[in-house]
């Protein structure tokens, strides 16, 4: 019991120490602030929005910036600021959910492959190769072509898109850890495979997984926005940022704000997650990349 309390104390101190180091990482802190801002926007954006994001106003179509509409209105007279604020939940929701799902599935897959080895590892390596053979968006597009567009299928497609990357990362780390003395010691103490994998191997590779999760959220937001932009993701009139950009293209000559506002929102959100991820990487694990 006493040793448990001491271990917790040690862990807390380590966490505090990491936080101190992270606080000195300037771009990492910028990333953290931006990310928090967007998370707040995703949660409270609908409440902060001055107008109903779906409410058309045909008397004020494509109106520019004014006191009533800070970011102007779109081709239906809907308030662009309200739509962008409301849209945060879609982009961030997809980014976070899909990345969490793919990191969970990928990590379990990678752990099993790395730790068990044998034919399972051989086969899973092939499957990973096949999944990674489709460059960038292509795997996600293929899945959407089968499953159809929509919010849920974008999450499905981006989750599958992310799985092989986590599987490969975790497999490599698990493989390297397997040979360590303390794992051998657990084996000698007759601990079961799953106990060793989840209690001993997994906690030791959480740092690189966390870094990857943060960096991947930005990538997934970009992929999901691209899918919606192509008409394969979240469909208009839902104020998803990529879908808004796709609508905006038709009105570019008369109302560039329709494109600029959601486009800037995507860019800053992705930048935030990227800076946060880079900062975490520098602090948690300077060895990766």
């Amino acid at each position: 019991m006493a040793s448990g309390a001491a271990a917790l104390h040690g862990r807390e101190r380590r966490g505090l120490d990491l936080w101190r180091r992270f606080r000195r990482h300037r771009s990492g802190m910028v990333g953290l602030s931006v990310t928090l801002l967007f998370v707040l926007m995703a949660v409270f954006g609908r409440l902060l929005a001055p107008y109903d994001p779906a409410q058309p106003d045909y008397l004020h179509v494509n109106a520019g910036i004014s006191a009533a509409h800070w970011m102007g209105t779109d081709n239906f007279g809907r308030d662009i600021l309200s739509r962008t604020l409301t849209g945060a939940r879609y982009s961030l929701g997809i980014g976070v959910l899909a990345t969490v799902f793919s990191s969970l599935i990928g990590s379990i897959w990678g752990l099993l492959a790395g730790y068990l080895g044998g034919w399972f590892d051989g086969l899973s390596g092939r499957v990973i190769d096949i999944m990674l053979a489709f460059p960038g968006l292509l795997l996600a597009i293929g899945i959407i072509a089968i499953a159809g567009p929509g919010f849920r299928n974008v999450i499905l497609a981006t989750t599958i898109f992310g799985i092989p990357i986590f599987a490969r990362l975790v497999r490599g780390s698990a493989l390297a850890l397997k040979e360590r003395a303390y794992i051998e010691a657990s084996q000698a103490l007759a601990a079961g495979s799953s106990r060793i994998m989840f209690l001993h191997v997994l906690p030791n590779i959480l740092a690189p997984i966390l870094v990857y999760v943060t960096l991947r959220i930005g990538t997934v937001i970009l992929i999901a926005a691209s899918l919606s932009f192509l008409g394969l993701g979240v469909q208009p009139p839902t104020p998803e940022w990529g879908a808004m950009l796709s609508e905006a293209q038709l009105y570019l000559a008369i109302d560039p704000l329709m494109a600029i506002v959601p486009g800037v929102a995507i860019s800053i959100a992705v930048l935030g997650f990227n800076l946060l991820g880079d900062g975490l990487r520098d602090v948690l694990d300077p060895r990766i990349r």
Binding site: V127, F229, Q249, I260, D278
Partner: protein, 306 residues
């Protein structure tokens, strides 16, 4: 070297096999009856059954896959549902524009990325460095299609310097290739900077300085040359990803390449064309990655192939 090349090519085969199975199953995973899709909407039941036999869809899946492979080796991927001409003919038409677009984008990304990266590294912690690192962090975060839209607004709609739609002409190529180049450019600039700084700290650079070589000779002949090896690899990998990114940019600029065709085929449910495009993109990506590995060895004499 040759033995290594052959071994690497052989290693591609199982993956290629897997990709072909995935792409073959693709058409069968689509909801709906492929025979009905191929026969067209207003076909009679007899016409649909006729099409089923013609496409060999009345056989079991493994047998169908073998037929698919045999036909694929002969370059026969069936007819486009939409145009009723061989799929390969449709695809061939759109291949060159995409090649042109991706090559010009990667050239821009490499040249500008290299310059920016070296500039930032040689003036470390200066304003130039700050601007380059900030811009490159932004560059990987801005969606390429958003940049494309901004460029269209600025240079096509307002200034009329370039056409709104992209085309294979020089003027029509500028905006799409710049949009496509942004993300790899930013990645390459970041990478050049860190790679250069790493090399600059190594012993042989210090030796070169110690033996009295001037700053320029040390920087450009010794440090840069060695820093370039991983950069070439990185550029190759970026080229592979760029092939996927072309899908979005071609749609923004209405540029009739393979990516544009891909999105069109989804819209028209032209699955045979889609199938070949997925296969082609995967094949290109795998070959680019192999080429990158081989170049890596050619540039760095320390790497020996066994």
């Amino acid at each position: 070297m040759w033995r290594y090349l052959i071994r690497r090519l052989l290693e591609l085969i199982p993956t290629l096999f897997g990709v072909s199975i995935a792409v073959f199953l693709f058409i069968h995973a689509i909801p709906g009856d492929p025979a009905r899709l191929a026969a067209g909407q207003d076909a009679t039941q007899a016409g649909v059954e006729d099409m089923r036999v013609r496409l060999g869809l009345d056989h079991s899946l493994p047998v169908q896959y073998l037929y698919f492979l045999r036909n694929a080796v002969h370059g026969d991927f069936g007819l486009s549902y939409r145009q009723q001409v061989p799929v390969l003919e449709v695809v061939r038409e759109h291949f060159l524009p995409t090649l042109l677009l991706s090559l010009s984008a990667i050239v821009i990304a490499f040249v500008v990325g290299l310059l920016a990266g070296v500039l930032a590294a040689t003036r470390r912690n200066s304003w130039t460095d700050l601007v380059v690192t900030t811009l490159s962090a932004t560059g990987i975060s801005v969606p390429s299609f958003f940049l494309g839209i901004l460029l269209i607004y600025l240079f096509a709609v307002n200034l009329h310097w370039f056409p709104v739609s992209g085309s294979s002409s020089l003027r029509g190529l500028v905006l799409p290739s710049v949009s496509l180049a942004l993300a790899p450019l930013a990645t390459i600039a970041r990478f050049v900077r860190s790679s250069f700084l790493e090399v600059a700290g190594e012993d042989f650079v210090r030796t070169a300085t110690a033996k009295g070589l001037g700053y320029a000779a040390v920087t450009y002949k010794h440090a840069l040359r060695n820093a370039l090896i991983p950069v070439v690899t990185m550029t190759g990998l970026q080229f592979g990803f760029l092939l996927g990114g072309a899908v979005v940019i071609e749609t923004v600029f209405n540029y009739t390449g393979l990516g544009w065709l891909l999105i069109q085929s989804i819209g028209f449910r032209d699955y045979p064309v889609l199938q070949v495009l997925l296969l082609l993109f995967a094949l290109e990506f795998m070959l680019v990655n192999l080429l990158v590995d081989l170049t890596y060895g050619a540039l760095d004499p320390r790497i020996r192939y066994g």
